[in-house]
């Protein structure tokens, strides 16, 4: 990968983090939703970094990772959710 491609991937991860939780500042510390969003972001970044590292290492996926993948895919593909 070139430096520009790596920069683009890094920016994509940063953009996903922003998409996951930029309203924390708008809600204020008293909002419970802010805590939930903060937790989502705190989980997302290490997860993405971990996935990219495993991709670079060519590591075989575990059963737990496959189950997590299928669970997320089921959420994303649920037509009853908003």
């Amino acid at each position: 990968m070139t430096a520009e491609q790596l920069a683009a991937l890094k920016l994509q991860i940063e953009l996903a983090a922003r998409a996951a939780g930029p309203i924390v500042g708008l809600l204020g510390p008293q909002a419970t939703a802010g805590l939930i969003i903060g937790q989502a972001v705190a989980k997302l970044i290490p997860e993405l970094v971990d996935t990219v590292q495993k991709l670079l290492a060519g590591e075989e996926p575990t059963e737990a990772e496959k189950a997590d993948f299928q669970a997320k895919l089921a959420v994303l593909g649920n037509p009853d959710l908003p």
């Binding site: 491609q5 683009a8 998409a19 996951a20 309203i23 997860e47 495993k54 990772e65 994303l76």
Partner: protein
């Protein structure tokens, strides 16, 4: 433009050297795309719980999400086929590129609807990437 933004994922899947199989690299690229899309979607649902959103915007995210999931299902099916028939590899690569595109689309849509406009740095890097590809 958005497609170019996630090309590094595909490049990772196709060009990572070493002994890892193409199928494993494909799964990791899928996993990254799903994590990105899922993270953005969690943020979107939290946003929906706090702020009013027009039906048009809500529907746009939903359509993008369902298209992404359908494409991810196709990639998984092709990946399973690839285990016994390597002739599907070009189709699998093309579908994986579409998946990366749609993941980027969800992230972009959610960010756009919540913040009003994409960040300047996003446009800048995308343009740099586009120039490099020409």
């Amino acid at each position: 433009m958005k497609k170019l933004f996630l090309l590094p994922l595909l490049a990772l899947a196709l060009l990572v050297p070493g002994c890892a199989s193409f199928s494993t690299n494909t799964f990791r690229a899928e996993q990254t795309a799903v994590n990105l899309a899922h993270g953005a979607y969690v943020g979107w649902t939290n946003y929906l719980a706090e702020f009013p959103v027009s039906a048009e915007r809500s529907n746009a995210v939903k359509v993008a999400r369902l298209k992404f999931a359908a494409t991810a299902g196709t990639v998984e099916a092709l990946r399973a086929s690839y285990e016994t028939n390597n002739q599907v590899r070009p189709t699998l690569e093309a579908t994986l590129l579409t998946l990366a595109d749609q993941s980027s689309n969800i992230v972009w849509l959610v960010t756009f609807f919540k913040e009003g406009a994409p960040a300047k740095s996003y446009v800048l890097v995308t343009n740099v990437y586009r120039m490099e590809r020409k």
